[in-house]
């Protein structure tokens, strides 16, 4: 443990030690920082250097919960947070399942999530990386402009302590580069993006990020609006990761116990095609969101949610597990010191197949390769299952990628889409998201256009 982590843990311990009789207290203390460099036309447009710290305190008494936070570790503010949380207890409703997590004996899976090279990485090298990415993107195609090219890194450390005996801390850092591209042809402009992530900058593949940014923008030039019809779609890995993000809210234990999940009564039943195996595995260090601990300080662990198409389990925090009569799966998530833990998947992954995207496409007569989707937040309802999203991409005709199309939507329901999965590609891509990307073929989706 480092000196500053010791300090955070000591602060959390100190708050918890103030618990009175019949009072449960949880203190979550965190500190973090980030750097962001944005390059535009070869110059630094902005350089952001940010540090923040704060504390969140949860108090439970007689089945009632109160919470307070402050974005500072100033001793006066910390005392005030505890007092506010205690005061807030009176206004909660008695909940027989209210309570904090308790140590469950599951060992932490040790991972190397802190990188000293990144921690000491000099500022001028960060700027140089973003400039290099801009140069490579511009060099990839003469029709391409760069909207912005960015380097970003972040570090965070957190300690949690509870009166129920949890006492854990963690520390991690990571970095990524992104580039937003524009491609012009006369009056028409299309956009693309590329990125690369790593535990340290050496892991970046700038050439690939630049190439993808240029290709994504240029291949949409000349796109038209296709006639509406049902067809087979191939989701690009980045789109699949977003799709899995939507699926994750249907397996979250809190939605299940509150009757809001469309799979709430379906445990043990077939909910997806047999080739679908969906795993949440934050112990896999390849995942960008890999972590040793969940938001309540329990060990993060590997959970198989859908196995060969059959729904095997939901993910739980200690609260949703208590209500469901089961044990926490180590899936409490918390956005930081300012919130209480919710429930969610930490690092989702579809079990990959073996074939490349090109091989998947070769077997499709009439289809759509979906390069990007927009409006997942507005057109998808995880409670009803309705799925409708704006999309752009390329038509697939006779097994080959053909004309670009845009201003269209694809629609189905989440229930149907899982059952209509035809194949999972072998092209796993670890993205800066809570789910890994992989090409995914789904049949019988409605494409709405002209």
């Amino acid at each position: 443990m480092t000196a500053t982590l010791d300090e955070l843990q000591a602060l959390a311990d100190k708050v918890v030690a103030q618990a009175g009789a019949g009072e449960q207290i949880e203190a979550y203390v965190s500190r973090g920082g980030e750097t962001e460099v944005r390059i535009y036309e070869g110059e630094v447009e902005h350089f952001v250097s940010a540090q923040s710290e704060g504390i969140g305190v949860r108090v439970i008494r007689d089945g009632r919960t109160g919470f307070a936070y402050a974005g500072t570790l100033d001793p006066g503010a910390v005392d005030e947070v505890l007092a506010d949380a205690r005061d807030n207890v009176a206004f909660g409703t008695v909940d027989e399942w209210a309570g904090l997590a308790e140590p469950d004996g599951v060992e932490r899976t040790e991972q190397t999530l802190w990188n000293e090279t990144l921690a000491d990485f000099p500022t001028d090298r960060k700027i140089e990386l973003a400039k290099e990415l801009e140069r490579l993107t511009l060099a990839a195609d003469t029709r391409v402009r760069v909207d912005d090219s960015n380097y970003a890194d972040a570090w965070g450390e957190a300690a949690v302590a509870t009166t129920t005996g949890i006492r854990e801390c963690r520390r991690q850092n990571g970095c990524y580069v992104t580039v937003s591209s524009l491609a012009d042809d006369g009056d028409e402009t299309q956009t693309g993006f590329g990125f690369s992530v790593g535990r340290e900058p050496d892991e970046f593949d700038l050439a690939r990020a630049a190439g993808e940014a240029a290709e994504r923008a240029t291949r949409l030039l000349g796109a038209t609006k296709p006639p509406s019809r049902r067809l087979t779609v191939v989701l690009d890995p980045f789109v699949t990761a977003q799709f899995l993000g939507v699926i994750s809210s249907t397996v979250d234990g809190e939605s299940v116990v509150k009757g809001r999940s469309l799979f709430r009564d379906r445990l043990g039943e077939q909910v997806a095609a047999e080739i679908v195996t969906l795993v949440d595995d934050p112990t896999n260090a390849l995942a960008y969101t890999a972590t040793e601990l969940d938001g309540e300080g329990l060990a993060a662990r590997r959970n198989v949610l859908i196995d060969g198409g059959t729904l095997r389990q939901f993910v739980h925090s200690s609260y949703s597990a208590r209500r469901a009569g089961t044990a926490s799966t180590g899936n409490a998530i918390r956005g930081g010191y300012a919130g209480t833990p919710g429930v969610g998947c930490l690092a989702l992954q579809l079990q990959p197949g073996t074939r490349s995207q090109a091989e998947l496409i070769a077997g499709i007569d009439d289809g759509l390769l979906v390069q990007s989707v927009v409006g997942l937040h507005s057109g998808v309802n995880p409670v009803s299952g309705d799925f409708s999203t704006g999309a752009s991409g390329m038509l697939i005709a006779g097994g080959e990628v053909g004309a670009p199309v845009r201003e269209l939507t694809i629609a189905s329901t989440l229930q149907r889409m899982l059952l209509d999965v035809v194949e999972v590609g072998g092209d796993v891509d670890w993205l800066p998201m809570r789910a890994a990307g992989v090409s995914l073929v789904i049949r019988d989706v409605m494409m709405s256009g002209a």
């Binding site: 350089f47 005030e80 409703t93 402009t189 309705d386 329901t413 256009g449």
Partner: protein, 463 residues
């Protein structure tokens, strides 16, 4: 929050490495929120966010750092970090002399939410829960959220500007789930204003809850939305998001300046149907996007963006306006002291037209009537945008008929603006929105009369 002479010294520190502009944005925000779900008040939360962001501009480069330490030592450290990133190395010592400006507040606050007992806030949630549940036997779940905040801000810059402001917000939202033979459906309503707790005596929160429940119940009988292109009529006060996405973002000067907007170089040109006048107005009393001064310290104002179809102006932040030698438009905003300001909308709306709203429906042979829109998203460079329809119906032979399941609509901004062919005389502002851009969310308002777009693509599953 911070002494006058400390501000001056910190700004001088920020300018020491040769920057030509420096700014301190400090905030101290206290908030209360409460959530009810599954019939229980889950918890009341008290929050305190306090800190300062300092930016230094040298040439085209902006350096930015923030700190939660508002002592002179903490502020100076942040100023040095920001200055190091935006350095010209000429090291000329400059002094800054601040002049305090005071502006009349846009909003009168009768009852500060921090003076209201928490039990009264929690009581709102119970009333909402009860009303939604009593709306029908098929309502199986209700969740509701209450939030208020009181934020003091202080903005000082090297031009000598010193402004302080206070922003009060109150928000209530409710969502309901109905369960039937065809599965579950959801409904949602919210209200939010930049005034005090008195807002809840003016608004019928029970009705808000019943409406959320009614949406969910109505949709139990919904059929799949059609797919393909057809006329869309949007009810007053629910579709301002259409213009927010179809043209609002594209009229932000930062995106225009980078050539990432379909509206670049179009000032003075006809870009919309002559029926359409789009305004962004940060001065409207009590609205969700209203501010006395923007987050760079400049007074908000009423900006006409499109007048009778002609693009009249873009929206500006201070730095970009300064570069162009024009006054700022009061659109420089940021999520918090931890964020850099950029060009953002405030309350964006379309002015009313002359048509009778019922007549607009009667004049539509076959199409979709959207009674409530959800969120949206736009690609400003291509102009393609989407928005969700949360409550929608078929229009058949000039009549509103069956309810439709949820889905997205998709269109292209400039084309959709040209395709606005009917405009109602029944203007209304909509619910509170959060606009996301470059990772920052800011509160915005939208509004519009009932209107018709003659062709949008409906993203349903029915043929």
């Amino acid at each position: 929050m911070i002494d006058h002479d400390v501000l001056e010294r910190v700004l001088a520190t920020a300018m020491r490495s040769g920057g030509e502009f420096a700014e301190i944005y400090a905030e101290d925000k206290r908030s209360t929120s409460a959530g009810l779900d599954d019939g229980r008040v889950e918890q009341v939360t008290s929050g305190r966010d306090r800190g300062a962001g300092i930016r230094v501009v040298a040439g085209e480069t902006t350096g930015f750092a923030h700190t939660s330490d508002l002592t002179e030592r903490g502020l100076r450290a942040a100023a040095e970090a920001a200055a190091a990133a935006a350095s010209r190395g000429d090291g000329v010592t400059r002094t800054v002399s601040l002049t305090h400006q005071s502006h009349d507040r846009r909003n009168d606050i009768a009852q500060y939410p921090d003076d209201v007992a928490k039990v009264d806030k929690v009581d709102l949630l119970r009333r909402v829960d009860e009303s939604a549940r009593s709306a029908g036997a098929s309502i199986v779940q209700v969740s509701a959220g209450y939030g208020d905040s009181r934020k003091r801000v202080l903005i000082a810059n090297s031009d000598g500007l010193l402004v302080d402001d206070e922003i009060v917000r109150c928000l209530l939202r409710v969502s309901a789930v109905a369960d039937g033979d065809t599965g579950m459906q959801t409904g949602y309503q919210s209200m939010g204003h930049t005034i005090g707790f008195e807002v809840f005596t003016d608004v019928n929160v029970e009705e808000l809850a019943r409406d959320a429940a009614r949406q969910a119940i109505t949709k139990l009988d919904a059929r799949p939305a059609p797919s393909g292109t057809m006329p869309v009529v949007i009810k007053q006060g629910t579709g301002g998001i259409l213009f927010h996405e179809a043209c609002g973002h594209g009229l932000e000067a930062d995106l225009v300046g980078k050539g990432a907007s379909v509206y670049r170089g179009k000032r003075g040109e006809l870009v919309a149907s002559p029926l359409v006048t789009v305004v962004d107005d940060g001065t409207m009393a009590g609205e969700w996007g209203t501010l006395t001064v923007d987050d760079e310290g400049h007074q908000t104002q009423r900006n006409v963006l499109i007048e009778d179809g002609v693009l009249s102006d873009y929206m500006w932040d201070f730095l970009r306006a300064r570069k162009e030698g024009r006054p700022p438009s009061g659109n420089g905003r940021r999520q918090s002291y931890m964020h850099l300001p950029m060009v953002r909308m405030t309350n964006t709306f379309v002015l009313a037209g002359d048509d009778d709203p019922d007549e607009i429906v009667r004049a539509t042979d076959h199409g979709v009537y959207v009674a409530k829109l959800g969120g949206g998203q736009v690609n400003t460079a291509s102009g393609d945008f989407v928005f969700g329809m949360v409550e929608a119906y078929l229009i058949e032979n000039g009549e509103i008929t069956e309810p439709l399941r949820e889905g997205n609509l998709i269109g292209n901004g400039p084309q959709a603006l040209r395709d606005v062919d009917r405009l109602g005389n029944d203007f209304a502002m909509g619910g509170p929105g959060t606009c996301g851009k470059d990772g920052q969310g800011v509160p915005v308002g939208t509004g519009q009369p009932t209107l018709r777009v003659k062709a949008l693509t409906i993203g349903g599953t029915a043929a």
